[in-house]
């Protein structure tokens, strides 16, 4: 029973980690309708920034989010403005996707050039402190991720629902031409959304870096799971992504413990294929779900 509880809690913690990495991805997909294959590399970039700010300037990793998230926001805005937007009028939507794949490869090689292939370890600064709650043990950093991922989803939902800018973002996602007729600058909304999505993963980086070693390929490791999460949750749904992340975290944890750690990914990606075949719109909602953000 104690083991079961520990596996359950570990699964939820892993789920929170997947959630915080996936939120920005699903936001960008839901609004801009672009699958950003460079999302993982945004995380990687963020983690290197956290590493630099903690080791060179001695800032606490969690505090680096105040600088890293805005920097990633700028990176996201620039990606939309200079890579995606010029391709928006392209006849084939897939060109934008290929462009983000190209950006992903370019960023990985840029990281190799700047930081080398060696692993960069961000100081844990107390975030690896184990905390015992009854029979289960978690790391302080994992609890922070859980709390922040919940606040992030709630905060984004409130922003989209209650602010004029948030409503404009949803309006653009639902009907681009009608949004223009309201006087909404669609390109600006896309830039803003891409920026927010990238800032989310920048926020994630300051919490992930103290727990995981940073390397040029770290983004690929996380983003593959993030894609499963986003598809499972229904592309473009924030709450769906959160629930999907929890499910994948639990499956990963239970399959790893009870079947064997070698088969974890087989089970997770096997699930992914099953969902794509049986319910391609995701378990929780449809593609438009970003539009109905119910409280």
């Amino acid at each position: 029973m104690e083991t079961f509880l520990q596996v359950l809690v570990s699964g939820l913690m892993l789920g929170a980690l997947f959630a915080i990495v996936s939120v920005g991805l699903t936001l960008i997909f839901g609004i801009v309708k672009v699958v950003n294959f460079a999302h993982g590399e945004f995380l990687m970039l963020g983690m290197y920034l956290v590493y630099l700010f903690t080791t060179k300037l001695g800032i606490h990793p969690l505090l680096t989010s105040v600088i890293v998230a805005p920097l990633l926001f700028v990176a996201g805005v620039a990606t939309q403005r200079f890579i995606i937007q010029p391709l928006m009028s392209a006849r084939d939507d897939h060109i934008q996707i290929f462009a983000t794949v190209g950006l992903s490869t370019a960023l990985i090689n840029l990281a190799l050039l700047l930081f080398g292939a060696d692993i960069a370890n961000t100081p844990a600064s107390g975030l690896r402190t184990p905390i015992t709650i009854g029979p289960v043990r978690v790391l302080l950093g994992q609890l922070v991720i859980l709390a922040v991922s919940i606040m992030l989803v709630i905060g984004l939902q409130a922003f989209l629902k209650r602010t004029q800018t948030g409503r404009a973002i949803r309006a653009v996602a639902q009907n681009r031409a009608a949004a223009q007729l309201m006087g909404i600058n669609v390109n600006r909304i896309y830039m803003l959304t891409f920026g927010i999505g990238a800032a989310c993963v920048g926020l994630a980086a300051s919490m992930v870096a103290p727990l995981y070693p940073t390397s040029p390929n770290i983004g690929t490791y996380f983003v593959l799971t993030a894609f499963v999460v986003v598809v499972l949750g229904g592309l473009g749904s924030l709450t769906g992504a959160f629930a999907g992340a929890m499910i994948i975290g639990l499956i990963d944890s239970f399959a790893g413990f009870y079947i064997g750690s070698d088969v974890r990914e087989v089970v997770v990606f096997g699930m992914f294929l099953l969902i794509l075949i049986l319910k391609p719109s995701g378990l929780f909602s449809n593609r438009l779900s970003l539009s109905h953000v119910s409280p």
Binding site: A177, A178, M182, N185, L288
Partner: protein, 234 residues
């Protein structure tokens, strides 16, 4: 107030409008009459900035707006109520109306405008918290018109407001349009229901195959032989 000079426009390589010139003066209600495919919607979309003309100029209050992007055209005070309503279906009626007041000049007076618009549309008031997609076609059209008015535009353009609606609803839509024009708002309207629309307007243009063929007062158009045969079925 609004002037089109020798506009050529279309979609990609297909030119739909050929040398279209027309004018709408302040306070006027002007109708564009024409068959399906004549270019009526294209004319409105070109004015709204959704289509870039290949030739010609568009002036609004003596300012050249030919290459002004759509969202800036709205800011200047030109609002299009598009064909097929184009509501934000998954947003509530109230949210749709608030999006209508996105324009800078309308935003600060949003609450006041909302109250005024809702007084014209009691049915819309009852539906405020419902999602726009759940309304009937007639109610959706009312919301679309109300949303357009939320922008407090200097000129309001209607594209086929009665399309696809039951006859009794069409009557209601025309009453609403009359209520809008009676407030002194300048209106440019495209409508298949030619008789009712001409009755409610000051002047009209007849558009055929992308060209203006007749331009006259509404009264004269209603008695014009060509208009009567081609569009009124008399």
């Amino acid at each position: 107030m609004l002037r089109l000079e020798g506009i050529h426009a279309g979609y990609g390589p297909t030119t739909i409008l050929h040398d279209v010139s027309l004018e709408v003066k302040r306070g006027e209600v002007v109708t564009i009459v024409g068959a399906n495919g004549a270019g009526k919607t294209t004319t409105l979309r070109t004015i709204a900035g959704l289509i870039q003309p290949t030739e010609g100029r568009i002036f609004f209050e003596d300012r050249d707006i030919t290459s002004t992007p759509a969202h800036e055209v709205v800011d200047l005070g030109i609002t299009l109520i598009p064909e097929g309503r184009q509501l934000f279906a998954d947003m509530t009626v109230e949210e749709n109306l608030l999006m209508g007041a996105y324009r800078k000049e309308a935003r600060s007076r949003q609450a006041e405008t909302l109250e005024h618009v809702l007084s014209l549309f009691p049915r819309v008031r009852e539906r405020l918290s419902q999602s726009a997609g759940s309304l009937s076609g007639g109610e959706q059209q009312m919301v679309a018109i109300a949303r357009g008015m939320m922008a407090r535009p200097s000129i309001l353009m209607f594209d086929e407001p009665s399309l696809g609606l039951a006859p009794i609803i069409v009557q209601q839509v025309f009453e609403v349009i009359k209520a809008v024009t009676s407030t002194g708002t300048t209106v440019l309207i495209v409508e298949q229901n030619v008789f009712n629309t001409l009755k409610a307007s000051d002047r009209g243009y007849v558009l055929e195959n992308g060209e203006i063929v007749i331009s006259d007062t509404s009264e004269a158009l209603l008695t014009n032989d060509h208009v009567r045969q081609a569009y009124l079925g008399i």
